[in-house]
Symmetry: C2
Subunit: 186 residues, 2 copies
């Protein structure tokens, strides 16, 4: 038997996207967003309300970064989802984040978060609050690369948002191979 919950924005897994941008004076800010993902071939899409300081910053500077929230910085990631950059002028610093300018776009990387998508603004739809960015580069700190030089999710330890329980979970163990385990059903 299924239980009907009505209209809910529930999905598993839901990401913890830490979106960062500079304001017009060059002050970095960051926020936490769960509504988003890969939009198309080389783009990311995120729902960002108009009122956020970060939204205004991105519209002014035409660039942003999207860092992956991690277990090692869980409190920091949660903090930037609670505090408002419209009220706390030094929110980025209060979160314990260190900004380093991206080599590719006019936006800050967060030193403490090892993986980030560096993006140029493509479009923002005021009605749906849907922002689309072109991924210009993905940068990953060497500390979370495996011996083969590629990202190791076990080292990165990305966190996942549970929209029903309002909890964070960590990514768990490998349970299968994509484009492979289904072949037995052919």
């Amino acid at each position: 038997m299924r239980k009907n919950f009505g209209v809910k924005t529930w999905l598993y897994p839901m990401p913890v996207l830490i979106v960062a941008a500079y304001d017009e004076a060059g002050v970095p800010n960051a926020m936490n967003a769960a509504w988003g993902g890969i939009h198309t071939d080389d783009m990311v899409g995120i729902c960002l309300s108009e009122g956020h300081k970060t939204t205004k910053n991105i519209l002014a500077r035409k660039a942003f970064t999207v860092s992956v929230g991690t277990r090692g910085r869980l409190a920091e990631c949660d903090y930037v989802g609670i505090a408002s950059g419209n009220k706390v002028a030094d929110k980025f610093a209060k979160a314990g984040f260190t900004a380093r300018r991206s080599e590719f776009v006019d936006a800050p990387l967060i030193e403490e978060l090892p993986m980030a998508l560096e993006c140029e603004l493509v479009s923002y739809d005021i009605e749906s609050n849907h922002m689309v960015g072109r991924i210009v580069n993905v940068s990953v700190d060497e500390s979370v690369l495996g011996e083969d030089g590629n990202v190791d999710a076990g080292l990165l330890q990305p966190i996942v948002y549970d929209p029903v329980r309002l909890e964070y979970r960590v990514l768990g163990e490998k349970v299968g191979r994509a484009f492979s385990d289904g072949k037995k059903l052919f």
Copy 2:
């Protein structure tokens, strides 16, 4: 030190969305999509190429469901991502899926996947392949509800796609509370 990987559609976590629809004759089909997430207040957004049988079905019937891929049905979820509904007429059945018509939209639920978003088509952009659906209902099988009647992610065991290693991982344990753990930084 950061390593630059260039333009990559990498993100953690990335979902395993099983998108299902009926064709014009009422035959159900399903496919696996990793590019998508919550789009805005009551909508889901997914990147679906024009050529997919499921895309054609959704455009014809104006409705679809999005089920959460689970560990218990990993091979089935992977299979519908490898096989093409344009070539395998009974793909849905070959995957071992049983269709049950949604009470809310003109699309099939998959009995074997306990959680699904039931959606009406809102828009499809041919250029970006971005499809938006309005969530009319979320239905969840009682077998994955906790004692409080709410979804228990530990029972659901959603799988997560790793775009770097082409692997599936399972959702791991609870590591924090959202809108809470960041308060210590205030």
